[in-house]
Amino acid sequence: MRAPIGIRIVNGRKSQGVSQAELARRIGISASYLNLIERNKRDVGGKLLQRIAAELGLGIEALTGESEQRLIHVLEEAFSDPVLEPARLDSPDIQALVAQSPAAAAAMARLYRAYGDAVSSAEAYANRLNSDPLLAELLHQILNHITAVRSSAEILEDVSDLSEADRLRFRTSINRDSRALSDVARTLIRQFERSAVRRRSLSPARELDDLIIQENNHFPALEEVAEVLRAEALAAGPFGEAALAAVLEHRFGVAVRRGSGHRPGETGFPGQYRYDADRRVMWFQGSTTAATRQFQLARLFAELAAPDVLQGLVDDGRLTSAASRRLGYRAMGSYVAGAMVLPYSRFLEDAERQRYDIDFLAQTYTASFEQVAHRLVTLRRPGEEGIAFGFLRSDPAGRLTKHFPLPGLQLPSVGHACPLWAIYGAFSTPGQVVRQIVRFPDNSRYLFVAKTVARRAATFSERAVPSSVQLATHVLNADRTVYADGLELSTGSGDVPVGPACRLCIRRECVHRQEEALATPGAEGMQREPLVPRGFDLGATD
């Protein structure tokens, strides 16, 4: 969906009392071209949009309506859910709702997400009941005690010539089993309370996502910390692993060790790296890459040198649980590490010069593909912005494990995306960049760039499970990147027709559909069918 940027420019211009001709002159384009932009007949983005925003004294977000678009996407997902089918709204209605009653729309979006969480909780409980051995045992005990109580009570009730000894025996049995039943019931309730706590701890990732999105993926306070710490490391030598190790040793007495790790069954450091806070030892598996070592040393430096700044950011009311604050603290430490390794202005300059060639930037800065891709998303400093990218990471099972949305690009909030996206295609060609221009059902177009990444296995038995990382940007920015070279940008003849995810996609003709679309009226033909036509409506007999 295209944001109504033109209307926002007109509104901004008129509120400033600036004529169309005057604004066109100030930003260096013809009045007729500005007229086309204002009527949404021409796309606008990049430097031109920045100039317009600057002339009108507005932020880019105010013109692109990014937050509104995110809201619209959540509501579109909500209104395609069967639970809201009786109150079905189509896209124009939703846009009108967001424009006219933004607070009510935001409240509705929050409710829908809370509903999604509640449904997930219910599923989790159902799964627990079916598969949790402890719960199964407790339920078994409850049924046994109830059976015993019922059977004894029936004997007392039905057997008229019951001896006094038997009467006493079965009364005692009822009392004993009733007490046992109460005990089991209490244990069961405690078990549910514990599982509810565990369940809540699943949503911190979403809370953190929301906070990062609200901050537009950019944290000025962390950028400042990174600049200071990088300068400190540079005093110890050229920036890199050695300088970081030196400054860590000098300031915090931290020793850096590398080793071959341990054989299975042995105790000690597991995984790729670990920090032993008591002994002040940072240990790396021998197989770790230089990029991992440099990044993790930078992260450790951030956590040791700037705990107050990191804590200040996570002591934000938006992170409501200890689990989300712990996750947030880790994420903020990683942000600083990324900003130290890939310093803002220099990195942005190099990115622009190298046309966002991620592999080239990775080798320039001894960073990984994922580290560079992630850093590109954070280049949103007002007045010094890079290309706006969305970021996705998927595991081999197709589940999206990390995402930073791109305004306008509809991403499913849970589960997996469209199987045609490059992020999944990349798994077919491990380690090679896959790119594509995709076209969504609303004709919006994006450049997708994806590549698989995997840590190095340390032993034969270790499974190096790969992930796929994808950057996405609007097609308007595509020619600023190397990834558009050789692609047909103007005619769209090579576009890959995609959707956000099957359940949110309205492409009836798509042969790759894996799942029925949610609540789409007249959805016949949207799922796989038998070869021979056959009716499956209520009452169909053939």
């Binding site: 049924l143 005690h145 019922r150 059977s151 004997i155």
Partner: protein
């Protein structure tokens, strides 16, 4: 002494009431509280019907049932399985292993007595009559 009904149930209160209602119905009863004892008792006592709980210590009710069906001497021994409400999967497995009847906990005493009676009568009919005592 011949045994009409062998009860294999580890829950003491349930065993107590089962013993009482089945004995009161006129049958001779023997009982065990784990799967191994159940297997021994089936071989030794050759009961006419087994009332079998599935969740038994040492050897599960499934194992006991499988063994009953695998031995020539006990292959046609009627087995009434006590299942818990909601354990459909357990019931299907027991069915596949050859359980004859099911009673779901929590049950009414009359259901157990009725089911045992039917199994005993069916066995009497199959063996030419004269076995049923009530």
């Amino acid at each position: 002494m011949s045994v009409d009904v062998l009860i294999a149930e580890d829950e003491p209160s349930i065993l107590e009431s089962l013993d009482f209602i089945l004995r009161r119905a006129g049958w001779t009863i023997s009982s065990v509280t784990d799967g191994e004892a159940a297997i021994d008792a089936v071989r030794l006592l050759q009961p006419r019907v087994v009332v079998l709980d599935l969740m038994l210590p040492k050897r599960s009710g499934f194992e006991v049932l499988k063994l009953i069906r695998s031995e020539e001497a006990t292959r046609s021994l009627p087995v009434l399985v006590l299942t818990a409400k909601g354990q459909q999967q357990d019931r299907r497995i027991a069915e596949d292993l050859g359980a004859d009847r099911f009673v779901t906990k929590p049950y009414a005493n009359a259901d157990v007595v009725g089911a045992v009676r039917e199994l005993l009568e069916a066995r009497s009919a199959a063996t030419g009559g004269g076995e049923s005592r009530s």
